[in-house]
Amino acid sequence: MSLCELRNVKKIYPMGDLEVQALRGVDLTIEKGEFTVIAGPSGSGKSTVLNLIGCLDRPTSGEVLLEDRPVAKMGDTELGALRAARIGFIFQSFNLIPVLTAFENVELALRLAGHHTDNKARVEKALRDVGLGEHFHRRPAQLSGGQQQRVAIARALVKSPALVIADEPTANLDSHNGKAILQLMREMNERDGVTFLFSTHDAMVMEQAKRVVRLVDGAIVDDTRRAPVYAGGAS
C-alpha cells in the first residue's frame, strides 16, 4: 500500500480573467519510509504538489489518495482531523506560535490531534530528540533560527504522523544549521521510518534525498531514486 498517490492531477488557479495551470496531469506515488525531494524552479508546481498531498488544497481534476483514501470525498472537518492525526508540517519560516513556549508549541500539535492527557513525556521526548532538552520553556523569540526549526520538527513529529511535509525547511537557515536540520531529519527517517516529503531548490537538500522528483511547468520531468550523500558534521 502506498502512503499517498496523485493520479493524473491537474490544478488550475484563476488569476483574474486568466487561468494559470499549476499542475498538468501529475502522477506521483510516495511510499512509506521515503525521503523524497520535490525539486524545481519557482512556479514549477512544487508547493502545489505539497499542498495537495498535505490535504491543504484540492485538485481541479484527478485524484489524490492518502493511505488509499480519496481526499476529494472528505469534508473540511474530516480533512482537518486527517491532517491533525496523520500529517506533520514543517515550514520555511518555522511558523511557531510566538506566545507559546517550545514545549507548548509541540503540545499544541498533540492536542489538536486529539491527545489531551499524558502529553508531558511525549513532548519532552520529542524536544530531546531534536536536541532541545534544555529549552522547553523558551519562547520562539528566545531561540535561534536553527532551534526554532528544531521545535517545528518536534512539533511535526510528536504525534507520530504517517507523513511529514517540509516546505523548503532550510531556506531560512545558514548552511551550518541547514545541514544539522537535514541530518536530524535523515536520522529520524532512518531510525524511525518517518516518511519525509520536501520541496526545495537547495542542492544540499537534494544530495540528502533518496529520491528526487523534478518538476518543470507543472509536469514531472524526472523521478530518480538514488543513494544519498550523507552530510556529516552536524551539530
Binding site: L56, V99, L112, A113
Partner: protein
Amino acid sequence: MLLSLALRNSLRNRRRSLLTATMVMLGVASLTVAMSWLEGLFGSTVNMAANLAGHVRVVDADYARREQLNPLHENIAESAPLEAAIRAVPGVVAVYPRISMGVTATVGEEIGEEFGLVQGGPLALFEGPLALPGHLVEGRMLASDDEVVIGKKLVEKMGGKLGDDVVLLGQTQDGSMSPAKLKLVGIVDLGNAMQNRQIFVTLEKVRYMADIPDGAVELAVYGAHRDDGAELAARLGALPELSGKDVKSWDQRPPFDNVMGLLSTVKAVAASAMVFITGLGVLNTMLMSVLERTGEIGVMRAMGLRRMQVIWLFVLEALGISAIGGVLGAVLGGLGGYWLQVHGVNLGSVVDKLPATIPMNSTIYGQVTPEILVSAVLLGLAMAVVGGLVPAYRASRIEPIEAMRHRR
C-alpha cells in the same frame, strides 16, 4: 488551551490591547454614569410620584375620565366603608382619603391672583408617604383644621410669612364659591416651582371647602413597595365594593404608564449605542490582529484547528481585553455615579415647567446600584462579542493553505 492562547494573544500587542481596553473602559464608565443618573432621575421622580398619588389610586370612574377638569362632584361620597374594605385586602399597608382642588391664595382679606393646588388629607398621609416634615424649611406641620402649610414658591409669590392669615378661594363640588381663612404655620420646599405651589390642609378642612362632608375625591392606597402597585390594583379591582371605580396603580396612569416604557427605551438606546460604538473599536483591533496573524492561523488550521475553534480563539481574546476594560470601566463609572449620588446635577428652571404629576426635584442625584454595575460589565462583554465576532468569523475563513503561502 484556547483560553490560555487567547489570553496570551491579548497581551501580544500590549499598546493596542491597552487602547482597546481603554475604549471599552470609557464606554462602560460612560454607560454606568448615564445609567446611574437615569436611575436617580427616574427613581426619585417615580418614587415621589408614587408617594404623592399612592401606589394605587381609587377614584370614581367618571372622575378618571374627566380628571383634567377636576370634577369634584364625581367623588366618593361615603369613603369610610370603602377604606375599611380596602384595608382588609392583603398587602394593603395604608389607605388615605384625599381631595385636591385648585384655589386662588392671598395674604390678607383681598382675593388674590396667585393660583395654588390644595391637597387635603389626613396628617398621617402628609407625615408618612409625602414626608412633608422633611421638606419643612420654616415653621411646623399642621396641628388644627385652621392651619395651612404652603410650598415656598407660592409663599414668595403671595409675599407671605409664618403667622400670616391666608385666604384660599376655591369651589364646592357644585360650583359655589368656597373661601377659607387659615393661618400659615409651615413652609415646605418640595424641589421645584410647580410642586412648591401646593397648599396642604387637613382632610376636615378640605371636605368643608369642597362640601364633601363624609367623602373624598380619591383614595390613595399604599402597599409595601411601589413596584407591587399593579398587583395590588388587580386585587383591589376585584373587590365588589369598588365596582364602578377606577382602580389603577401609579404606573398604569398617565404620565408614568408611558414614562416607564420611555425609560426602558432610553436605557436600551443608550446601551445599544455605546455597545455599537465601542464594538467598532474592538472590531478594528481584532481585524488588525487577524490580518497580522493570517499565517499563524493558517498553520493552526493546517495542524487541525477547526473553524469554530478559530472563532472562539478570537472571541475569547476580545472578551479578555473587554473584561479588563469592563471591570475598570464599572469601577470608574461607579465612582462617577457615586459623585452624582452625593452632589447631584442642578437642572434649574427646566424642571419648573414640568406638570404637577411629575414631581421632579431641580437637583437630580445619581443612584448607583449593583444591577447597574453588573449590567455595565456585561455590556462591556457584549461590546467584545459585537466587535470580535466579525473578525473571528473572518479568521475562521482563513484556509490552511495560507500557512504555506505566508512568508514572514
